[in-house]
Symmetry: C2
Subunit: 132 residues, 2 copies
Amino acid sequence: MLQHKTHYSIGELCDEFSVTARALRFYEDEALIAPERRGTQRLYTERDRARLAWILRGKRVGLSLSDIKELLDLYDIGDNRRTQRLKTIERCQGQVDKLKQQRVDIDATIKELEGFITLVKSQTADQSTQGK
Amino acid sequence: MLQHKTHYSIGELCDEFSVTARALRFYEDEALIAPERRGTQRLYTERDRARLAWILRGKRVGLSLSDIKELLDLYDIGDNRRTQRLKTIERCQGQVDKLKQQRVDIDATIKELEGFITLVKSQTADQSTQGK
DNA sequence: TCACTACTTTACGTTTCCGTAAAGGTCAAT
DNA sequence: ATTGACCTTTACGGAAACGTAAAGTAGTGA
């Protein structure tokens, strides 16, 4: 049975994801994760771990913690009222649009930087030719 | 001759790029742009305008102002020493790598959000079918 | 001359996302 | 019993990127 651990200590998650305990506690203060307790110590479940992965990826793409919280909450709500679902779709679509625009910007920036690199490299090649 | 203006006031640039004058002055304090002066007022050239566009796109992809400054400076330096050029290439390549990783994260996030949207939409469709 | 608009500087305030002590609790191994 | 590793809370600190008055200047039109 390939079954991974069902519980993680704060230190384990820190090591796995290369974040500080301070950060994890901060995310908890901000209600992004809510690990159980064994006495005073935190016990993270597999679900908490998945949420953490989501949080960190969200950060890498430039979402704020409150954006991330909102999206995570939307996943969880399971609210069946139609209006609520429409709002959910709207919010998500908004983020998707932002991310798509961001991808356009990223591609343009990569292109420009790579062009510049090529230019500088060609100069370096010139000199090394002369330098021989 | 299709020639655009050669000089812009701070207000014009603000309108064009939807940024506040405060932001532009802040970028100037941080040495990201250095407009001329006519008396006390700032006169932005076409080059300043291009730099501003670069700055704002850099921001949109999540670069810090100091990252942006560094890259802009690299464009300008024209330092011909070989070691300097190698450093330049290294820095740029580093940013390119970061941006490529970011694109991977963005694609994954978009995919996940769109999947979720599809799911919620299907539930909404169910209910509207029943609701008829 | 008066008013208006666009510009200027100086300077303190704000939000986000944690870093970094400080001071201590818990449990296992020596 | 004491060390050490790992955990806890509370609370002040700090960089980044501006926001936001406050108070003054410069040109323009009526």
